[in-house]
């Protein structure tokens, strides 16, 4: 039997997905697959296009594994646009003059950005945001620009604004409608979003219709609006919506919609049964789907249909979205605008926290129909499931919008309550049953295996928390203890390793590996065990038996930077520093040409030191009386202070002195993760003690101790554990608290996460630390006393030992630094070049 020809026009996200489906189905046995790809490269991840500005390359974004097409005999014409379809003789011709006979065609031509017919729209300095080439052009122009404007305040427009902002431009968004994201969110939501975005420094202009783009010397200069106002700018990006690319379909007489789009049926067939259309060019029931998930569904449907007619059908898709736009969570799902007759709204607008949450419920309040979340979309996954599975709501649906109150029971609709048919991953259309079956049948025990087997979570990633919950629930139901092994080399959790090391007095990694492990270790177990050994015995981290365990930061006692140079942060206890010490830092920075910056932790970072310079720099610093700041270690970082009663008219205690004392007490102490502290001199809390792993706030009568807070990735307030303590008791409690944390926390678990997972939480911690319910407090205090006594500055030890210093040469066999390092000048200092600057003249090789 001869194979039939199937031509796919367009090799974008959906066109590629279609080819992948055909390969997966083994359809290449029956079909010759031929595809036209107008862009100069094969399909790439347009959804993550903005990653291009964050350093992702075209290769990183590519969706096509190298040789995939070749290995499956797919013919691809790259950089060639299909220009005509002759439906009578069934021939397709291309711009480059290729002509192909076809049996079937799949149109996956996508869409193009709509540019409103404004006078001056083609001026130099105007752009659209769709392809890698568009971004390259933008990025080149942005280098000579100060101000950038995005026309269009929809989803894409805001993403584009983020890109402009990240390129350092003063950024404006101009929206024609009275609010941002008019398609997804309502008026109130639009305003909350606008406030949040303006707070981030992007200027938002709504109700603005642009009438003219005025140029100066041939390039964009300003915009004129219908209301007579004007806005100066150096570049403009149009993001005013998309239009389906249906020209080739129109030309060959296929039916298209009134406002564009190639009309398709449930099988994604066009008005010609031999031609299918999928993705953003297809119009189903008068609708264009501008998201990738529906496009992927269409690709699957078309592939199924071509191989076995009467199969799967496309019946529309969910347009729910959750995004982080400029750092603000935005989600819109289901019937967000309450269009269902009789539906009602429940909404909370919280101007204090900048959030807006709205639920749309049916007339009787028993079912959730849709909603909008702005500022905090953490409930999105659960709420969407309630809508999609028509789960009956609790008596007070408004509870769904409230965070669990302290002490109270939180209302949550756990994964258990979802039906098997619930779609968990909408990007890849994976149901709860598919995930659970894969876990059971293949005995999966970790999330990466689940992702690999089911594809769930490999798209936008939004469903990963739900998938993780499912995995946990399944494992629990199967009575499988969730594996806590630290890695393949040790079948123990960090706590277990800690107690093995302590009880058997194990002093080296090799000893532990011999007795309790296998293989030779890895980058997971080595640093973790290095840290435990340090917490237990406080040996110098670079002794030969320990040196190979340390992450590069600990191995070179400095923080590695993206180009392989390091940063130097001397300890400045409590943030207090004399003018003379400041001068020393200044001199060192000047002499070694280090980029200098005040850190968020009340000290000074000197960046860009070559590995061979580190000992020279530290010799100078140690000589002047500085010590290592352990900015590189999982150890105590800073104890921030405020000026306290010494200067401040409100201070009730001497917070600076206490902060210094505490920083000196716990300096160098290694722990499962880094930990931070702060001391404030009164309740005004200028040192931000309540955002620290342990924080102290002065009272009239003594000190209040707060524990388990952090900023960072998931900020959490520290909680009050004891009040009005005198200094001795305060320090005793902190000793116990820290040592208990070191004993029992998991690898890389900060105090907040540690406590959140602890059964009994803060109350339990109080029992252990204040009431000594485990009877271990004396031990904990003794362990801490040992640590305090044996402290030594690692840099001081290192520079005193010539043998150790050998390791700081870049080359083992010749002198001289890493020749690849380069520097660029900026604002009077130097920094590493960005990739695109490497070849430019202003980049210079480092001296």
């Amino acid at each position: 039997m001869t194979k039939k020809n199937l031509v796919v026009i367009g090799n974008g996200m959906v066109g590629h997905k279609f080819l992948q489906c055909m390969i997966d189905k083994g359809a290449t046995a029956d079909w010759n697959l031929i595809t036209f790809c107008e862009e100069p490269r094969v399909a790439y991840d347009r959804v993550n296009l903005s990653g291009f500005f964050l350093g992702k390359t075209a290769d990183d974004l590519s969706l096509v594994e190298p040789d995939l097409y070749k290995n499956n005999n797919i013919q691809i014409h790259i950089g060639d646009r299909a220009s005509t379809i002759d439906r009578t003789s069934k021939i397709i011709t291309s711009a480059n003059g290729v002509s192909v006979n076809y049996d079937k065609v799949v149109l996956a031509t996508g869409s193009y950005p709509f540019v409103p017919p404004i006078k001056g729209k083609d001026t130099d300095g105007t752009f659209v945001y769709r392809t890698i080439e568009d971004l390259e052009a933008m990025s080149a122009h942005a280098k000579k620009s100060k101000i950038g404007v995005v026309i269009g305040g929809g989803l894409l427009g805001l993403e584009c604004a983020n890109a402009l902002k990240n390129m350092g431009l003063e950024t404006h968004v101009v929206e024609f409608a009275p609010r941002l994201m008019p398609v997804q969110i309502d008026d109130v939501g639009g305003h909350v979003l606008k406030d949040q975005i303006e707070a981030l420094g992007v200027k938002v202009h709504v109700n603005k219709s642009t009438t003219e783009i005025v140029n100066e010397n041939g390039t964009v200069h300003k915009m004129v609006f219908a209301d007579g106002s004007e806005l100066q700018t150096d570049m403009i990006v149009f993001s005013a919506g998309i239009r389906p690319r249906d020209d080739i379909a129109r030309d060959c007489g296929l039916v298209v919609g009134d406002r564009g789009g190639i009309v398709v049926n449930e099988a994604c067939q066009t008005s010609d049964p031999d031609i299918h259309a999928i993705g953003e060019c297809a119009l189903y029931e008068n609708r264009i789907y501008g998201l990738v998930a529906p496009g992927y569904t269409m690709a699957t449907v078309a592939a199924d249909h071509l191989c076995e007619p009467e199969s799967n059908q496309f019946t529309g898709a969910d347009m729910s979205t959750k995004l982080k736009l400029l750092g603000v969570d935005v989600a819109s799902f289901g019937d967000a605008f309450a269009k269902t007759p009789g539906s009602k709204e429940i909404a909370i607008k919280d101007s204090v926290n900048g959030t807006y949450k709205k639920l749309v419920v049916n007339e009787s309040g028993s079912l959730l129909l849709g909603g909008i979340l702005i500022g905090d979309a953490s409930a999105y996954g659960n709420l969407l499931q309630l809508v999609q599975n028509a789960i009956v709501l609790p008596p007070h649906p408004e509870d769904l919008l409230m965070p669990p109150r302290e002490g109270g029971l939180s209302f949550s609709m756990g994964v258990e309550s979802l039906p098997d048919t619930a779609q968990i991953c909408s990007c890849n259309n994976v149901t709860k049953a598919q995930i659970c079956n894969a876990i059971q049948d293949q005995g999966l025990t970790d999330i990466s295996a689940v992702k690999k087997c089911t594809n769930a979570g490999t798209g936008c990633g939004g469903c990963v928390p739900l998938v993780t919950d499912l995995l946990k629930a399944e494992l629990k139901a199967a009575g499988i203890e969730v594996k806590k092994d630290i890695c393949e080399h040790f079948a123990f959790s960090r706590q277990e390793l800690y107690s093995l090391i302590r009880t058997h007095q194990i002093k080296t990694f090799d000893e532990l590996l011999d007795r309790h492990g296998s293989g030779s270790g890895c980058e997971i177990c080595k640093p973790a065990i290095g840290s435990i050994l340090a917490s237990a015995w406080n040996d110098y981290v670079l002794t030969p038996t320990h040196a190979g365990l340390q992450d590069t930061n600990d191995a070179f006692l400095a923080n590695i930077q993206k180009d392989g140079t390091y940063s130097v942060i001397p300890r400045i206890p409590g943030g207090e520093i004399t003018p003379n010490m400041l001068i020393v830092i200044g001199e060192v920075a000047r002499d070694f040409n280090l980029y200098t910056k005040i850190t968020g932790g009340q000290r000074i970072d000197l960046l860009g030191a070559r590995v061979d310079q580190l000992p020279l720099i530290w010799a100078r610093l140690v000589n002047a009386g500085f010590e290592s700041g352990h900015a590189y270690g999982k150890a105590l970082r800073t104890v921030k202070s405020c000026v306290g009663s010494t200067w401040c008219r409100f201070g009730v205690q001497d917070s600076t002195s206490l902060a210094i004392e505490i920083e000196l007490r716990y300096r160098g102490l290694r722990a499962p993760h880094k930990f931070k502290s702060a001391v404030s001199g009164c309740t005004r809390e200028c040192a931000e003690a309540q955002s620290k792993d342990f924080g102290i706030i002065a009272t009239e009568k003594g000190w209040n101790l707060y524990v388990c807070g952090n900023g960072g990735i998931r900020p959490q307030h520290a909680q009050l554990i004891a009040e009005d303590l005198n200094k001795e008791t305060l320090i005793q409690y902190i000793d116990r608290f820290l040592m208990f944390y070191i004993r029992t926390a998991n690898r890389l678990e900060r105090t907040a996460t540690w406590m959140n997972k602890m059964e009994g939480g803060l109350d339990y911690l109080k029992q252990v630390i204040i009431h000594d319910s485990l009877g271990i407090c004396a031990e904990l205090e003794a362990e801490m006393a040992y640590q305090v006594q044996t402290y030594a500055c690692e840099w001081k030890t290192t520079i005193a030992d010539p043998e150790k210093l050998q390791r700081f040469n870049h080359f083992v066999n010749v002198d001289g630094p890493d020749p690849s390092l380069m520097r660029v000048e900026e604002r009077g200092q130097v920094r590493p070049p960005f990739d695109h600057e490497r070849s430019e003249e202003r980049s210079v090789v480092m001296p």
């Binding site: 080399h489 270790g521 890895c522 992450d551 993206k562 180009d563």
Partner: protein
């Protein structure tokens, strides 16, 4: 699987004594104007390029060595991708690999082969 054809070594360059490398760590050597990362695991040595294709920095010699299911490997110190020390293949991304260099210990001296 990728095929590794080992080109003939035309000359061996002596780098340093084996004892110069702390067991289970690496160093960087300049060989024929190329940066080569040399690792010592026990008394065995391995050599791969020092260039980390992910961070584009010359740093692999400063990674933590170990094994994954018996395969000796190093984890880049910057973004932690692992490289097979025998073949240079990246264990976390099949499409990436780094060059490997012939290396041996003769009379207690480490030598890298120039091809």
């Amino acid at each position: 699987m990728t095929q590794t054809t080992i080109p003939a070594v035309s000359q061996w360059q002596t780098i340093c004594p084996l004892t110069r490398i702390i067991p289970n760590t690496g160093v960087c050597a300049l060989v024929n104007n190329e940066q080569v990362a040399i690792f010592r695991i026990g008394n065995e040595v391995f050599a791969i390029a020092n260039y980390d294709p992910f961070s584009k920095a010359y740093v692999l010699s400063r990674g933590i060595v170990g094994d994954r299911q018996g395969i000796p490997k190093v984890a880049s110190p910057i973004y932690k991708q692992n490289f097979n020390l025998i073949t240079g293949e990246c264990l976390d991304d099949e499409s990436v690999s780094v060059p490997v260099f012939p290396v041996r210990v003769i009379d207690g001296q480490i030598q890298v082969g120039i091809t």
